[in-house]
Amino acid sequence: MNKRSFSDSIANRKVFQAIGYTLVFLMLACGVMTLDILIYRALPSWHSGIIAALLLFIVIDRFYTHRHFASLTPLSREWALALGTQWILILVVSRFLLSYAEGIDSLRSDLLLFTRGNLIELITPEYVFSLLLALLFWYLTGQFLDLLDESGLNQELALQEEQVPGGLIPVHQRLVSLIFSLGIGLVIVAALTRVTIHAAASTDRFPGVEVSRVSGGEAGALLYFVFGLALLSLSRLMSLQIHWNQLRIPVTSPNLARQWGIYSIAFLLILAAIVSLLPAGDSLGFFAVLRMLLGFLMAVLVFLGQIIISLLFLLLSIPMRLFGRITLPISTVPPRLPTVPLEPVSSAAGGIPWALIKSILLWGALVVIVVFSLIQFVRQHEGLLAALRKSRMVNWLITAWQWLSNAAVKTGGSLSHGIAAGWQSLVARLERRRLLSRAGWINLRGLDPRRRIYFFYLAMLRRGAEKGLIRKPSQTPSEYALILEKELPSALEDIDSVTGAFIEARYSRRDVNASAANAVRAAWGRIRQALQKLPGPAKSNKR
């Protein structure tokens, strides 16, 4: 029973791993892009492109070596050796990449310094900053990969995690925390990318600070959250599968994982579409943002490829130069990263009414968000609610609110009654003066069940009259039903039930429920069909 579930999760594991790693890479690429733009804006003399490439290289390297590191015992000799080797490589590669960014001559001189042992001279602020960022991304990538393993990529680890007694935070929650925590940092970085500090230029509010309208960092932050949500969806599925395996609950649906993917993509796309429609000032379009990220990634990957090719050329050119024969063409300038659109895609065109609507939507959405967040917060902190209820001030506010809401309901009720009465009297007057024709349709859904039964009975009278079966004013509903039954023997029971229901609805105080009205409707449908078959005015009426 449980085998199927296990086999499914094992079959899906490779797909999950591929998707999970891709999403983590994209999220971190968004982070790299945002940081890159911040460095580019704040410190234009630094090689932000090289730093971005270095960080992405470290992320890829971490993916590649993660399995090996996971198999080693922490703090063991093998672990220390592997870690040391990796970091020595990172230190050397980052130094020479930064040197290479200055040009081939700079690289040569730095190599000379390195061979002579003048290592202190190689340590520059840019290098130290790059290493700190490298350490941060190395750590973050490891964190994401560890959490993915615990979520279900590593079955043994995930099952151990599942067996951990309550009290510890579940792995999915830890992933949510990590994504949101990193998101907070990224949002702050993205906000900083828009701030340019000048000595001369200044705004009225913040002297010396200029806020640009749009920067590419925002795209990174936005996409980071989109990919983060996709990763959460994957992690949720893996956690659930592990949970079901642990409890030996079989999964009977053969395509649960595939449909999960479809639902997740549809959910995120709908969410993205709604979000892009909501007013948020000078926003970039969703697809424009996506295009920007893909362009950035392509440029970085091309850059990395060029670096590798250049290194190969360099290695080949060194023995060539010794013989003084051929000099291979080596690019000394790293490729430029994609430029960020400085003008917003959507403008505030449409005039004042559109601006007003957008403003109302904006403030409405904000109010809804704040209220929703407060409700969630209070729900998750039940103690807070109890404490608030004890407060005299809060009690007073609640009483005042109740009084206000009651008064509003009463006022609203009397107002609507007044308006309805006024409208009816107006319509009646106009009808009397034949200025307004009676409305030719009635909204059945707007009627209560009792009135719906009236409606169907009156419809029966009207259709009957059209066929010559006119109800005399002296006839009771039962007497009229007898006449109708004579002409329509096939609908005898239906006529009885409609008439009975009408009598009960009209002359009793019993509650009439919707099912009774629906039954009358069905019966009336059959009577109508029977009436339609009657040829012309019936004879019985002429008697």
């Binding site: 907070i184 993205a190 906000a191 959460l232 949720r236 649906s253 959910f267 968000i369």
Partner: protein, 400 residues
């Protein structure tokens, strides 16, 4: 999730305020939208899921009961995952109940079938069915709902009794009897020659005319067996070491005798001083003597549900029944043991024209003393401590 959600929201709001809206607002929409939409989806999907269980709610011991579970999504919103966990009685299924995971598309339904084995008599709740679901992102907690349980009644074991001897003094019945006092004029079984003193009403004129000698009809004696079974499930009246087995045996005896009596087209009723789990007061319903299979099923239902009870002595129950039952009714008392008060009540019943009979369903050291006292009162006593004893008893009755 609130641990990071609120700081994120605060940071975003501050940035939105300082940066005049823009991307921070978009991120707010995205995060809050994902949370709100996920919560809404989960709740909405769960409210649209309907489950329906179908199974025969009565079963005989040893039968396999198939339970069909239909899960239907009434709405247009798909249900990404649905965890179903049925709570089933351990006595029927063992440690593994029914549990599964599925997903439902818009307005889709799925069927499951599982079975339980009616291994032990009793009143068993099938369910409740716990249905869990949630959003695809896992930002909000999983949602659970429980559908109510339904009852399955497993009837007690019925041992087919070929013949047993149950005393009755009710005349004009349908069962044959050896005492000529209860000759039934509707049951002619032969003729003999007239002897002096024979009633003229018994002369068969047709056969007398054809044979040329006076012939007298011979009537088969018969009795009406109106029986009331009194099942004592007072826990103190069973030896504590074998209480569970002995009380179950007492129920099997009661069911088997009731079945035998109904098969003989006689009337049988039952009174139990145990506990009925489904009735408000816990007092089992007393069934007055009636005929027929439907009545037997009602009787078996009571026997399927009853459990032992503490502090409910037999004597007061016997006293109450004694006044209610008609003259000539057979009173079969099935108990573990009986004290002097109980025997006195049975003696009183005998004095007032009823036919008490005592069946001891528990091995007790006081058996001989009880048997001795019962013999003095003229009350037949049978000691049945195993199901095999019940078979032996029926054979002895047949021989007798």
């Amino acid at each position: 999730m609130s641990g990071t959600f609120l700081p994120l929201l605060v940071v975003l709001l501050v940035i939105a305020a300082f940066m005049q809206g823009d991307f921070a607002l978009t991120v707010i929409y995205l995060v809050v939208g994902a949370l709100a939409a996920g919560m809404w989806w989960g709740r909405r999907a769960l409210s649209q899921v309907q489950t329906k269980r179908q199974f025969p709610n009565h079963a005989f011991l040893g039968e396999q009961v198939k339970i069909h579970l239909r899960v239907q999504n009434k709405g247009w919103l798909p249900v990404p995952w649905l965890e179903l966990r049925e709570t089933l009685p351990v006595a029927l299924v063992g440690p593994h109940g029914f549990q599964t995971v599925t997903n439902l598309g818009p307005r889709a339904d799925t069927h499951f079938e599982y079975s339980v084995q009616a291994r032990k008599r009793g009143y068993y709740p099938i369910g409740p069915l716990s249905v869990s679901t949630g959003d695809v992102l896992g930002l909000s907690d999983s949602l659970h709902v429980q559908t109510p349980s339904e009852a399955l009644i497993v009837y007690p074991k019925i041992i087919s009794l070929p013949s047993i001897e149950i005393p009755s003094h009710s005349p004009q019945g349908t069962l044959r009897h050896t005492l000529p006092l209860f000759e039934d004029p509707t049951r002619v079984f032969g003729k003999r020659g007239y002897t002096s003193g024979d009633s003229l009403r018994r002369i068969d004129w047709k056969s007398s005319a054809s044979s040329g000698r006076l012939q007298v009809k011979l009537f088969e004696p018969s009795i009406a067996l109106e029986t009331c079974i009194i099942l004592n499930l007072n826990a103190d009246d069973y030896y504590y070491r074998t209480r569970i087995d002995s009380s179950e045996l007492a129920i099997i005896i009661a069911a088997s005798i009731a079945n035998w009596i109904v098969e003989k087209k006689q009337m049988v009723g039952i009174t139990v001083n145990g506990r009925d789990p489904i009735l408000a007061g816990g007092k089992p319903q007393a069934l007055t003597p009636r005929k027929g299979k439907p009545h037997l099923m009602r009787l078996l239902e009571v026997l399927a549900r009853v459990e032992t009870i503490d502090g409910s002595p037999l004597a007061p129950l016997l006293q109450r029944q004694r006044y209610q039952l008609a003259w000539g009714t057979t009173l079969i008392v099935i108990t573990g043991t009986i004290n002097q008060d109980g025997l006195d009540e049975l003696h009183q019943a005998r004095q007032s024209g009823q036919n008490p009979m005592l069946i001891l369903a528990s091995k007790d050291f006081a058996d001989e003393a009880i048997r001795h006292r019962a013999n003095i009162y003229g009350i037949p006593v049978y000691s049945i401590t195993t199901e095999r004893d019940l078979q032996i008893w029926t054979k002895e009755s047949r021989r007798a």
